[in-house]
Symmetry: C2
Subunit: 208 residues, 2 copies
């Protein structure tokens, strides 16, 4: 950028202005067309980083807009996470429920895990029936569905039966196709590279 | 699950236990091998949802672990976001800096945008030189690099020169290959589907 003549710089700036004006017209038209205000069902899946952290970032956004948030963490729970420690500081705004007992490979007990998942779903249903809660985070629910601890059709029925303006975020690898089919926004977090593969530990503040 | 004989259920539970025991052994070995504790550079890119929200979820995690967080938002700024409103509630823990003036297609002025990006990078550098800050969020930095408002090599030099234990998260579509090359963890957020395409507006609490 440093060796352009004044004429070249002016031309570059003008091309930028024209390109951005076209982009603005296109985006304004798309925004005008997308005018429905309705609670959405978001699914974050894939093997990459960012599924749960994105859900907790949405929780921060929702709190910034004065909404109440309900969180159920499925599967996780052996380690006290940073998101739990932080969000528990706002008990009037965030209701935080952890299923407990760590990841499924720690317990190695299918029936106990399934019973715990069913109890956690009871808590999720209470959030999904409460119109005062603007955002429900169902962290790692996909894992409970993958192992058939919960019935995907019963879960979907409860999700679709929620208050019209309530948003829901579901996270976890291997989202079942039935859930993807009924969701409004689905993102696959894809690994391009991961520090863990280079021998770097999962660390406080980034991974948990 | 409901019509199995007791013998079938016992066999299913035993297969689950064996599978999870193998998984636990594999994961424990991988965790033992990945023992480096070091600040990591994370890049969230791609066209899908979750790049910025994941960075703010990591901010929540870091705060839960008692870390201090520095945020610079490039490009965004015309709309007051939920993450900004929320994180500004903790001025002793979070230092929040917004470049302002909205997205580049709103200003349509390359030189003004470039000057603002340079000022925002000065703030980012102050965070990157402060070992008291455990996590630096550089939201939408990739957009400033894509439009060459900032020189990618100068940015990378500052990133690599940061305190050894400091984590950094960079977000935005179209991360430059030079940045991907030096990052520790890179995730591509891929659109599987998006509510916007179905005519649903970007809404408070989920998108901003």
């Amino acid at each position: 950028m440093h060796d352009l003549t004044p004429e070249q710089t002016a031309a570059l700036n003008e091309r930028h202005r024209e390109r951005m004006a076209r982009k603005k017209a296109m985006i304004d038209a798309r925004i005008a067309a997308a005018d429905k205000q309705v609670g959405i069902l978001i699914v974050n899946t894939g093997n990459g980083k960012g599924k749960s952290s994105s859900a907790f970032g949405m929780a921060a956004r929702a709190l910034g807009h004065g909404m109440k948030v309900g969180v159920v963490q499925f599967i996780k729970g052996a380690i006290k996470t940073g998101e739990e420690a932080f969000l528990r500081r706002f008990p009037d705004e965030v209701s935080f429920h952890v299923m407990g007992e760590g990841y499924t490979w720690e317990t190695q007990n299918r029936e106990r895990d399934a019973a715990k998942a069913a109890l956690a779903w009871e808590q999720a249903r209470r959030f999904l029936q409460d119109p005062a809660i603007g955002l429900v985070v169902l962290d790692e629910l996909n894992i409970a569905l993958k192992y058939h601890y919960l019935d995907v059709h019963a879960v979907i029925a409860d999700l679709l039966d929620r208050p019209i303006m309530q948003h829901v975020v579901v996270t976890g690898r291997a989202a079942p196709p039935e859930l993807v089919a009924v969701a409004d926004t689905v993102t696959e977090m894809k690994v391009v590279k991961h520090a863990f593969a280079a021998g770097i530990a999962a660390q406080a503040g980034t991974e948990w």
